[in-house]
């Protein structure tokens, strides 16, 4: 074959060439500009348009922001200050309204002397979430814990919280952080206790109420453990035992215990909730409750039992086919009709139920995607090892599927959190519209349109953007695979 070229080709390099620096072409600011902004007529045009837009935004916003007034007692005073300082034509933001009323946007009508309670509740939330969300990197977790602790205590201190309470808060948060750092396994259990602690802090009342609810779960679990041999029957028995406990035992027992040891916080009713406390409460309750429901729905929808599947599909499609506003109106107008005569419960709770069902349907779809992404081999390997359906789901399938679905779940959560502003239409005081309207209804701040929107929008942006960045970070980490 190779006779024609044989003589010419033999070649051996005797010394390897060292790498050279690249020729001076790919660096320098001018070159960068040329390459990234002015690389052709279309690009030049686009750049000019972009600059124009930037200028437009700057030109409208900057004078307003730079002429802002932070110290004033009313909007009229604000305007006066602006026109005195910057001339009669000047237009300035009156952030004094935020300064005067920011606590109302954030904490609603929560009693002033108890401001530390919601703050502590949300601070603890980060401690509860840390082992779940930031478990992968010890450093990230420590940073989050430290920031959460410091911020919580700081903001509580700024709100005139008593020294004793402050010390208690600090001690609690430090102890919990230490637990997370030393015994991550235990910390996960502590995270499970969080919902009860959060509810107690926010609504107050006797500690025994939440404790009894928690005990119900314990009872159910114990019965299930004891009866575990009987498979599915054990689950039913556990559920029944828990239900009996809640129904019959818990209320009297709680009363009894409260009589003996009255661990009580002053109760705060839901109508005092408003602003971001309300949004965040609804949002977090919604996601925490919708996750398990979503998982069950997703499993049901992938089930090979037609009846179960059909019910799940009907539920999911119904919820997804109806606007959230309609569901909120159902919560406010109709839910009482569906319950036995005479029952009437808190509108916040009803809204939470609806929001939960709503996001459960979306979460279910996300998790279904995660389940579908798992290779069949995983199911088969679990089967071949003799794991039954629930064990296989719990140990093999769900951990993987949930991991894949986290980004989707987070974006569902972001959507839901944004949607909590819609509760204004059923008469709750959301931070956006209801609170702004309330603030504007007062004589001092009538006419302050832009500032509240600006403030509330900025908070929403920070929270949602933070969450979406976090989920992108997760996505990247997941793409890299298992370490």
């Amino acid at each position: 074959m190779s006779e024609t070229h044989a003589q010419t080709v033999a070649y051996v390099r005797d010394s390897m060439l060292p790498p050279q620096p690249p020729p001076m072409r790919s660096s320098g600011a001018v070159l960068w500009l040329r390459a990234n902004l002015f690389s052709g007529p279309v690009n030049i045009l686009l750049t000019l348009i972009g600059l124009g837009i930037l200028w437009l935004i700057f030109d409208t916003l900057w004078p307003w922001l730079s002429h802002s007034v932070w110290n004033a007692g009313s909007i009229r005073e604000c305007r006066q200050i602006v026109s005195e300082t910057y001339g009669p034509e000047a237009n300035g933001a009156c952030f004094a309204v935020i300064r005067a009323r920011w606590h109302q946007f954030v904490l609603g009508f929560y009693p002033q002397e108890f401001y530390w309670r919601p703050i502590l509740a949300f601070g603890l939330l980060f401690l509860a979430l840390a082992p779940l969300l930031f478990g992968a990197s010890v450093r990230a977790r420590r940073i989050v814990l430290a920031i959460a602790t410091v911020l919580t205590v700081l903001s509580a201190a700024m709100l005139d919280t008593g020294l004793a309470v402050l010390a208690g808060m600090t001690a609690l948060m430090l102890a919990w952080s230490a637990l997370i750092d030393a015994r991550p396994g235990r910390a996960l259990l502590a995270s499970l206790l969080y919902p009860f602690a959060g509810v107690w802090l926010l609504w107050g009342g006797s500690l025994w109420g939440p404790v009894m609810v928690l005990a119900g779960f314990g009872v159910g679990l114990a019965v299930w453990r004891v009866a575990a041999r009987f498979g599915m029957l054990a689950v039913a028995a556990g559920a029944a035992a828990a239900a009996l406990w809640w129904w019959l035992v818990s209320a009297p027992l709680a009363g009894l215990l409260a009589g003996a040891v009255p661990l009580r916080l002053v109760p705060v009713t839901s109508d005092q909730f408003g602003g971001f406390v309300l949004s965040i409460t609804i949002g977090i309750a919604g996601i925490a409750l919708s996750l398990p429901i979503g998982i069950v729905l997703a499993l049901a929808r992938r089930s090979d039992m037609p009846v179960v599947k059909m019910l799940a599909v009907m539920f999911i499609e119904f919820i997804r086919g109806v606007p959230l506003i309609a569901l909120l109106f159902v919560a406010s107008l109709l839910l009482n009709y569906f319950l036995p005569p005479g029952t009437s419960f808190d509108i916040v709770l009803r809204v939470i139920i609806m929001v939960t069902l709503f996001s459960a349907a979306y979460v279910a779809e996300v998790i279904r995607g995660g389940l579908a992404a798992l290779p069949r081999g995983q199911y088969e390997a679990a089967d071949a090892l003799g794991l039954d359906y629930w064990k296989a789901q719990r140990l093999i399938i769900l951990p993987q599927a949930l991991k894949i679905s986290i980004p989707g779940i987070v974006s569902t959560f972001i959507g839901m959190f944004k949607d909590t502003t819609l509760v204004v239409f059923v008469g709750l005081f959301d931070p956006l519209k209801a609170m702004s309207d309330t603030v504007r209804a007062s004589f001092e701040w009538k006419g302050a349109y832009w500032e509240p929107y600006f403030f509330v929008g900025a908070i929403f942006f920070v929270l949602c953007f933070g969450m979406s960045r976090y989920s992108m970070h997760l996505e990247r980490r997941l793409k890299r695979g298992n370490r």
Binding site: P375, G377, Q378, E380, A381, D383, A384, L385, G386, L387, D388, K391, L395, I396, P399, Q400, K403, G481, N482, R483
Partner: protein, 256 residues
């Protein structure tokens, strides 16, 4: 533990008994009147062209697939729709897949201890000891704390074998355990399998590794179109195939 009566001994000597097994996918007849008797300690290699039903047969034995007619008795337990029987059979039969199917979210050790702990209800400590024992056997004890994604294909397949062994099965099924591996890794896995064979484990193995078949199999079964076309000892099978199809097949796989 029971005294060996005639009957139990009979059952004891038979590992798998398949009688007139038929299976359809929809209307497609994949397995046709399969009769197969495997004694305890016997090692069988199943070969055949793609689509001939080898995997399906293997998967029927631990009920990853349901059969429609005929009878499969594994270790004295007949496979019916009864869940208890299925569970019993599955915990007696270990299976190694072509694509390993390790659980990527668990470490190697956890992969190996999962089923013993949750199915056999063995204490964790004990399960881990067993797992380390088998990991040593497949010569990767040092990888126990890693995740599957960090191992090479050959190592992963050896973990898969160890995982199956941890359930202390009486029968091992292999479905083309080496065909997804790079050539260098094939040898590692085959070595492990040969060692297992030497310990007297009952094995059914779908493979085209003829060297392996020659070395360890008691019997080679050749399947085509859902039927057993020929079976024989390895030497006879390779050197002296009877049926035309077998000859054709052998010429293809040995040719390349």
């Amino acid at each position: 533990m029971q005294p060996l009566t005639a009957e139990t001994r009979q059952a004891d000597e038979t590992a798998i008994d398949i009688v007139k097994l038929n299976k359809w996918y929809g209307t497609f007849h994949v397995l046709r009147d399969i009769d197969l008797h495997v004694s305890r300690g016997e090692r069988i290699v199943i070969a055949g062209p793609s689509g001939s039903g080898k995997s399906t047969l293997i998967r029927c034995i631990n009920r990853l697939e349901e059969h429609q007619t005929g009878k499969i008795v594994v270790d004295g337990t007949e496979l019916t729709h009864d869940l208890k029987n299925i569970d019993k059979v599955r915990s007696e039969v270990g299976m190694v897949f072509q694509h390993f199917n390790l659980f990527p979210h668990l470490t190697i050790l956890e992969n190996c201890t999962l089923a013993p702990i949750w199915v056999r209800k063995i204490p964790r400590r004990e399960a881990e000891e067993t797992a380390m024992h088998f990991l040593e056997k497949v010569r990767i004890p040092d990888q126990a704390r890693k995740y599957p994604g960090q191992l090479s294909g050959g190592q992963q397949q050896r973990v898969a074998i160890a995982r199956a062994l941890c359930m202390r099965p009486r029968i091992m099924l292999f479905d083309e355990p080496t065909s997804a591996l790079d050539p260098e890794m094939i040898k590692e896995v085959l070595d492990t399998m040969i060692e297992l064979a030497e310990e007297g484990m009952t094995m059914l193995c779908v493979t085209h590794e003829m060297g392996f078949a020659q070395a360890v199999a008691h019997r080679v079964i050749f399947m085509d179109q859902g039927q057993i076309v020929e079976q024989n000892t390895p030497t006879e099978f390779f050197n002296n195939p009877k049926s035309e199809r077998t000859k054709l097949f052998l010429s293809q796989i040995l040719g390349h």
